[in-house]
Amino acid sequence: MISWRPSNSLILCWVALMVLLALTVTLAYQPLGALNFVVALAIATAKTALVMVIFMELGSRPGLVRAFAGAGFFWLMILLWLGLVDFVTRS
């Protein structure tokens, strides 16, 4: 029987995710106006970054893998950016 326990970074990551979750719920109930949406998305992005860097081990992977991981999100930004240009600028 090999004695084993998860690394500190994993445990810390999990704790951080839980804290961020609590934070995002709390902030959602604060009347910040349009900022509510921005805050919610910012925290979601932070959580995603944690999951990708630590759980998905991107922190220790070569640049090529990181580029592949980023590509989908980059193209999603293109879709949202150019797609919304029309809807935002309609008179």
Partner: protein, 531 residues
């Protein structure tokens, strides 16, 4: 000695093969069949349009014909054409690999493709689809009395076949290259298929989800795009064209890739500006995602969006122009031979350039207001897709035919077919530019009589084109059984695929090849052989 064809003769060995070369053959057989179904629809359309009145078919049938022509040709012929047949066969050979990175995924992609095709054909035989291949809402969701959801399911499934192919190519090109084969030593065909794969992987899922939304709205009536209950029909167009415009580049980039190989081989010279051509492919793939709104200049999208998309459309034309200039410059001081593949390649350059230049007309906002949804658009994209892609496909098919089948075809008939296709094509589609410039709208079953002259010319050209497309079926078919045996490298071409016997053995190379020279090194290539 056994090769991939003679390895095993059972049906099982074909339908459960994971050999990329056999899967390419499976794709090839399926695509010929689908090409002729789509072509049959086109033939009926051209016959009907020879007169202004309705005389051959009813309007409902006519609408189903052009829809079927579009759906089959776009999703079940052009998109898989070069990537899944020539690409599947040649990519591992070209990079010195034993197979694609995921051989079983490759086979799965063929089965998905066949399932998608079967469902789409089912929709057609159940009674057809009458929405046009663009499936615009709210017509497709609320008003069409045809089998839209079934066809959407077929396209959806075929889309996943595309995604798997793209994924396979990307990983293969990154990880399975032979020792010494650096990125800048890759043949440009590989670069262009890599760019194509990026689009396949990143654009197709958006089509998939759009079709899900379309089917959900049609089946449950939930109103995602229904303007009566708050939906926006233009949102559908945005999502659809986010896929379908890059899909145009899926349909042309592989063709450009083929032409690089042909031009260099028959000029006996390395390509002019290798790095520019290579990066132009990636530039087209990336910038191709930024221009989709040019399909919507008159749709009611905001003027600001139209300006942005028009500007980006001009930008994406630059890398295409770079390619044309470089191909032409490659001919300079070459030693040109005019074998059939070269004739196709030269035809491609001319026709693609005409398609590209008329694309500038359509990117130009004020003229697009006039020309969009007219025959000008029809002519433009046929110059790109048929004049460009299909011509390149035929060129590549002839070029690699000895490698694939191990047989030589009749050079005489091949040249005749190439010239006939070029003439028939121009006669069919050039008059359509004029029809468009005169203002004849597309998807018209009957039309005002003043448009007849050009329509008759176009239909006449279509007859020649149809006959010319049938020709290769005969002489290529003949060569499989009676053609002379092909040597390993009949054209004296560079590239690893020519360093293994024709047809290649099961795992492509008897020995792992190692590369230590730049691409298209024709100064040190063997002389072409006369077989």
């Amino acid at each position: 000695m056994k090769n991939y064809l003679t390895e095993d003769y059972t049906l099982r060995s074909w339908f459960f093969t994971t050999d990329h070369k056999r899967i390419a053959i499976l794709y090839f057989a399926s695509l010929i069949f689908l090409f002729f179904i789509g072509g049959a629809a086109a033939t009926l359309i051209r016959i009907e349009l020879a007169t202004p009145q309705a005389d051959l078919v009813s309007s409902d049938t006519y609408n189903r014909l052009f829809t079927m022509h579009g759906i089959i040709m776009v999703w079940f012929f052009l998109i898989p054409s070069v990537p899944n047949t020539l690409g599947n066969f040649i990519v591992p050979l070209m990079i010195g690999a034993r197979d694609l990175a995921f051989p079983r995924l490759n086979l799965a992609s063929w089965y998905l493709f066949m399932l998608g095709a079967a469902i789409t054909l089912l929709a057609i035989f159940m009674g057809g689809v009458d929405t046009g291949w663009t499936l615009y809402t709210p017509f497709s969701t609320l008003y069409s009395n045809s089998y839209v959801a079934v066809a959407a399911a077929g396209i959806f499934i075929a889309g996943f076949s595309s995604i798997l192919t793209g994924l396979n190519f990307i990983v293969t090109i990154h990880k399975l290259r032979a020792p010494g084969l650096t990125w800048y030593r890759l043949p440009l065909f590989i670069w262009s298929l890599y760019a194509t794969s990026i689009i396949l992987v990143l654009a197709t899922p958006v089509l998939a989800i759009t079709l899900v939304l379309l089917a959900a709205e049609r089946i449950f009536g939930i109103g995602v795009f229904d303007p009566r209950i708050g939906g926006d029909p233009l949102l559908f167009q945005h999502l659809f064209w986010f896929y379908s415009h890059p899909a145009v580049y899926i349909m042309i980039l592989p063709g450009m890739g083929v032409v690089n190989e042909l031009i260099t081989c028959y000029s006996r010279k390395k390509i002019f500006g290798y790095k520019f051509v290579a990066w132009a492919s990636l530039a087209i793939a990336a910038a191709g995602f930024l221009v989709w709104g040019h399909h919507m200049f008159v749709s009611g999208q905001s003027l600001t969006a139209s300006l942005v998309f028009s500007f980006m459309s001009f930008v994406v034309a630059v890398p295409s122009a770079i390619k044309v200039f470089n191909w032409t410059a490659t001919l300079h001081k070459g030693t040109l031979r005019f074998d059939a593949p070269m004739l196709y390649a030269l035809g491609f350059i001319g026709l693609f350039t005409m398609g590209g230049l008329t694309g500038l007309f359509l990117a130009c906002l004020a003229f697009d207001v006039y020309a969009t949804d007219t025959y000008f658009v029809v002519a433009h994209f046929h110059y790109i897709m048929v004049g460009g892609m299909v011509t390149a496909y035929f060129g590549g098919l002839h070029y690699w035919w000895p490698k694939i089948t191990g047989r030589m075809y009749s050079e005489y008939w091949a040249r005749a077919a190439a010239i006939l296709i070029f003439l028939g094509f121009n006669l069919t589609f050039f008059p359509q530019f004029i029809l468009g410039a005169e203002g004849m709208p597309r998807r018209y079953h009957v039309y005002p009589p003043e448009f007849q002259v050009w329509n008759v010319l176009s239909s006449g050209g279509a007859t020649i084109l149809a006959a010319a497309y049938l020709l290769p079926l005969f002489y290529l078919g003949y060569s499989i059984f009676f053609g002379a045996k092909a040597p390993a490298n009949p054209w004296g071409a560079t590239g690893l695929e020519w360093q293994t016997p024709s047809p290649p053995p099961k795992f492509n190379f008897d020995r792992q090849p190692v590369v230590d020279s730049p691409p298209y090194d024709y100064e040190h290539a063997p002389e072409p052989q006369n077989v």
